[in-house]
């Protein structure tokens, strides 16, 4: 579904991604683990087109998207749930869900999002900026679902959430996967990633340094210690 | 980097040195520098000035007393500082024998000392500030345009004697021209027995005259309006809309209904009275001929005041050069002749110069009328040969401070 092929990305002069390659099969969840500054978010930004790769190629459904503008990439069926949620404070919940909606037969609707996240329904006409952290995260995911993506990039979706909400997010991820959606799951919480990902990569200093099934990584204390400090 | 700098400098030097390549004639041309705005807010005034000035020169084929005349035009833009720089260029680089032009009073004040120091005759063809030829008069300066004070005097006399006003409200722009016209008006009007009961000073950039018009005192017999340029359109429009023009007469400083504004003013200005040393509708052979000729140049129905007075200025300068037989190099003689030169008939009438360097000329009272499809400033009264000192003794007049916001003070406000 998504192929990232030897991607190099720079911020100004600094070389952040130094040759990253990975693939996401259809309806699979691929986890990316790594410390702060390893380049996880930059990878997401490169895929989404915010910070286009300077070298290498990114293919989505066999079409090259390396240097497309983000909105073109989004319209092909990618969407991102950014780190820090990036809520629009000037919009209320209903508006946030509607603003980027790209309806599809049998696709996501506002109603379905409310079913998935009941607290949002009660808050439909509250400004998004006044929601709690967990509600904002639901809204961020809901907003992305409304574009009916086939691939969702989740950048630390559990950051700053209480255990209850973390569990809810996990549940949502599972539901989405069952509906056939592919996901790139960037996480700092090892346990969370191991629980939901079908395959995991560990990044360090802009490179993928380890790739395995979550079970293998769960067994490999050495790798965990070396790259994740666990 | 240094190489680039040097190259750039060399290129600049070459450009300046090569341009005024003078033809090697036995008698070099007479160089006249002319400073007028060709860009910025006042560009059209400047272009009109040049049109008028050059029209006369072209009528005499740029030849005076057997010498070619070379006119060097410089753009003062919208800032007086530019005028100074350009004046220095004309003096030091082009070595002009006479300098003309200057629209804004500030530019004229700024340029005068520079020209004076260089001993080059300066003929101001528009800038109107009183003191240029009064308390700050300088030896090499002559002015063939107008002053605010002289116009105010005429208006004060006319308002009291002919219009029968006794109480007047003034709305005037808050700068030299406004202060001086108002001051002159107030002095003559109040000496005759009238009262100025209100003076409203409006900033030069005023987008909305509504608040001022609404606060005009209703007991005034008439309104003196000293607002010029595009702002005049707003003020007169506002006076019309607020109904003031239907109830009262408005006497306005001439350029408030300058011919170049008449289209924009349209019907709103009908009946407004103004005072100025010229009108396009002035019915003399010289003027009719001038109007016809300048229309061929500008291709417009309306001829601006600044074009007309600059045509006259060129006539007068040329006459002086003729009288010295083209010997402009003899500065003192040339300048004395210049000041002594008289013209019996120009588009605006006769021209002569008083001993302070200012023009003595007719001032006309005009009324905005519509004749056919066109508007005009119909001349309804002529004040002949008006001096900048009105009927006062010049020495005593000059002992008083210049007209300003509070001089004369508003005793009846």
């Amino acid at each position: 579904m998504l192929r990232v092929d030897d991607v190099h990305t720079y911020y100004g002069d600094s070389h952040i991604l130094q040759g990253v390659s990975l693939e996401i099969p259809r309806a699979a969840i691929v986890g990316i683990l790594g410390r702060n500054g390893a380049g996880k978010t930059t990878l997401v930004r490169s895929v989404m087109g915010f910070t286009p790769a300077r070298r290498g190629r990114i293919l989505f459904d066999e079409a090259e998207i390396t240097r497309l503008r983000p909105y073109r990439i989004a319209r092909l069926g990618l969407c991102v749930v950014s780190q820090g949620r990036q809520i629009f404070p000037s919009l209320d919940v209903a508006e946030t869900l509607a603003v980027g909606a790209r309806p599809k037969p049998d696709g996501w609707t506002v109603e379905k999002v409310y079913e998935l996240f009941p607290p949002l329904r009660a808050r439909a006409h509250h400004p998004a900026g006044r929601l709690s952290g967990g509600e904002q995260q639901m809204l961020a995911i809901g907003r992305s679902l409304m574009t009916n993506p086939s691939l969702l990039l989740l950048d630390e979706p559990t950051e700053g959430l209480s255990p209850l909400y973390i569990e809810a997010v996990g549940h949502v991820i599972r539901t989405l996967q069952q509906s056939g959606m592919s996901m790139l799951l960037v996480e700092q919480r090892l346990r969370f990633a191991l629980l939901y990902a079908d395959y995991v990569h560990i990044m360090s200093r802009g490179k993928i340094v380890h790739s395995s099934s979550p079970q293998e990584l769960g067994r490999d204390a050495d790798v965990r210690a070396r790259y994740l400090g666990v | 980097m240094k190489k680039h700098l040097v190259l750039a400098l060399v290129a600049l030097v070459a450009a300046v040195v090569l341009v005024p390549a003078a033809p090697a004639a036995e008698k070099p041309p007479i160089k006249i520098g002319f400073i007028a705005p060709k860009t910025g807010n006042f560009a059209q005034f400047g272009l009109d000035m040049l049109n008028g000035f050059k029209l006369y020169l072209s009528e005499i084929d740029y030849m005076i007393a057997g010498r070619k005349v070379e006119l060097i035009e410089e753009d003062e833009g919208a800032t007086p500082a530019n005028a100074v720089t350009k004046a220095r260029k004309l003096i030091e680089h082009d070595k002009v024998q006479l300098m003309g032009g200057l629209l804004m009073a500030a530019a004229a004040y700024a340029v005068a000392p520079v020209v004076q120091e260089a001993g080059v005759p300066l003929v101001i063809t528009v800038a109107a500030s009183d003191d240029l030829t009064q308390r700050k008069a300088s030896k090499y300066l002559a002015r063939v345009s107008l002053t605010g004070g002289e116009h105010g005097h005429v208006a004060g006399d006319y308002a009291y004697r002919k219009l029968g006003w006794r109480k007047v409200a003034v709305i005037a722009m808050d700068y030299g021209w406004g202060h001086e016209v108002t001051g002159g008006f107030q002095r003559v009007f109040e000496e005759l027995g009238g009262q100025v009961i209100q003076k409203i000073w409006t900033p030069v950039i005023t987008t909305d005259f509504g608040p001022y018009v609404a606060s005009l005192k209703p007991e005034a017999d008439g309104i003196l309006d000293v607002v010029t340029g595009a702002a005049s359109i707003r003020l007169i429009g506002e006076l019309r809309k607020a109904g003031v023009l239907d109830k009262k007469k408005v006497l306005a400083a001439g350029t408030a209904t300058d011919e170049t504004l008449l289209t924009a003013l349209g019907d709103t200005a009908l009946g407004v009275l103004t005072f100025l040393p010229w009108s396009q509708a002035l019915d003399t052979p010289e003027n009719k001929r001038f109007v016809e000729r300048i229309k061929q140049v500008t291709k417009k129905d309306y001829v601006g005041f600044s074009g007309a007075i600059n045509y006259g200025a060129a006539m007068w300068i040329a006459e002086a050069i003729r009288q010295v037989g083209g010997d402009v190099e003899n500065k003192e003689k040339f300048f004395q002749t210049l000041r002594a030169t008289e013209i019996k008939s120009s588009p605006r009438g006769p021209i002569k110069i008083d001993k302070y360097g200012h023009i003595i000329q007719n001032i006309y009272i005009r009324r905005v009328d519509k004749v056919g499809n066109l508007y005009q400033n119909t001349v309804i009264e002529t004040y002949p040969s008006v001096s900048q000192f009105w009927k006062y003794n010049p020495e005593e007049y000059l002992k008083q401070p210049i007209y300003s916001r509070d001089n004369p003070p508003c005793r009846h406000c």
Binding site: - | V19, N82, S404
Partner: protein
């Protein structure tokens, strides 16, 4: 003393010295109008470089710089025409008063940052213009103050007023340039760059960021006052146009066109814009178009200003 650290500055000083020698040596053989414009260029260069201390170094894009320039100009005009002040006294008073004015304004404007700083300084500039226009007894209103004689500085063997004044300005320019260089190399100069890069870090390092910015405004204001004083002498008069928004914009444009944060860039920018306006207008009525094109071209193709372009070309 760190020898390595002095290498780049020494190169810069050498380069500037060569440029100054050229500026000084060429003047007598150049047409006088070019010398006149070079004088103006030098005055604007002092002002533009002072703005660069704020805009390029401390990251404070001020649209109100002409206010301090004008304080200097009016101070000189008033002292010279009404109190027969000497050149030195007028200069000193202009510098001091401009500095005092900046200190007062600093308190008002320094809470705002970024675009809001630009806008509040714009408001200051507009109010200053209103003051210059309205406070007639002090400023002479719209006609301003005229009749400021050129300072009499006896330069050996120089008869021409133009040339003599040019060397006077050049000498003061050299002094300013030296002070500017010392300033940007000094500890204080570095603190300004630090503030531009990260105010929050500067605070936790123990810097009173507000005070440093205020001092920068005062210093820049003092230099602008000096330039304003010279401007008064140069033109022989001062009017409200010295304070208007266009003038403030012009300083900012000089800095941007030359290259902000470089000190040398604004000097080039000042010369470039002065000559573009006053030299091109001798040849074509459409000089405004030429200036417009120059701005657009610089904005599009010289992201770091003319100095950046020159550096890239090397």
């Amino acid at each position: 003393m760190d020898v390595a650290a002095t290498r780049a500055p020494m190169r810069l000083v050498t380069g500037l010295a060569v440029a100054l020698v050229i500026l000084a040596g060429l003047a007598p053989v150049l047409p006088s109008y070019v010398v006149i414009l070079m004088t103006e260029g030098l005055i604007y260069a002092i002002a533009a470089a002072s703005l660069d201390l704020l805009l390029g170094f401390a990251g404070l894009a001020s649209l109100g710089h002409s206010a301090f320039f004008a304080v200097g100009a009016y101070t000189t005009a008033i002292l010279v025409t009404r109190h027969q002040a000497s050149f030195g006294a007028a200069l000193a008073a202009s510098i001091v008063l401009a500095a005092v004015a900046s200190a007062a304004i600093a308190i008002l404007v320094l809470r705002a940052t970024g675009i809001y700083f630009m806008m509040i300084t714009l408001a200051v500039s507009l109010c200053a213009w209103g003051l210059a226009y309205r406070w007639v007894s002090l400023t002479g209103g719209d006609t301003g103050i005229v009749g400021i004689p050129r300072p009499r500085v006896p330069w050996v063997g120089l008869a021409s007023g133009t040339l003599s004044f040019y060397y006077t300005v050049l000498a003061l320019f050299v002094v300013c340039l030296a002070l500017y260089l010392l300033l940007i190399w000094s500890p204080f100069g570095k603190t300004l760059v630090g503030i531009r890069d990260s105010e929050s870090r500067m605070r936790v390092l123990g810097y009173n960021v507000f005070l440093h910015k205020a001092v920068a405004l005062v210093v820049a204001g003092a230099f602008a006052g000096l330039a304003g004083s010279l401007y008064a002498y140069y033109n022989g008069f001062v009017g409200p146009s010295a304070v208007d928004l266009a003038h403030s914009m012009q300083f900012v444009l000089m800095v941007i066109v030359g290259g902000p944060g470089t000190l040398v860039g604004p000097l080039i920018g000042a010369f470039a814009i002065t000559f573009l306006e006053k030299m091109v207008s001798v040849f074509t009525e459409r000089w405004v178009m030429v200036l417009a094109a120059a701005y657009v071209v610089t904005a599009l193709w010289a992201p770091r200003g003319m100095l950046g372009l020159l550096r890239a070309a090397r």
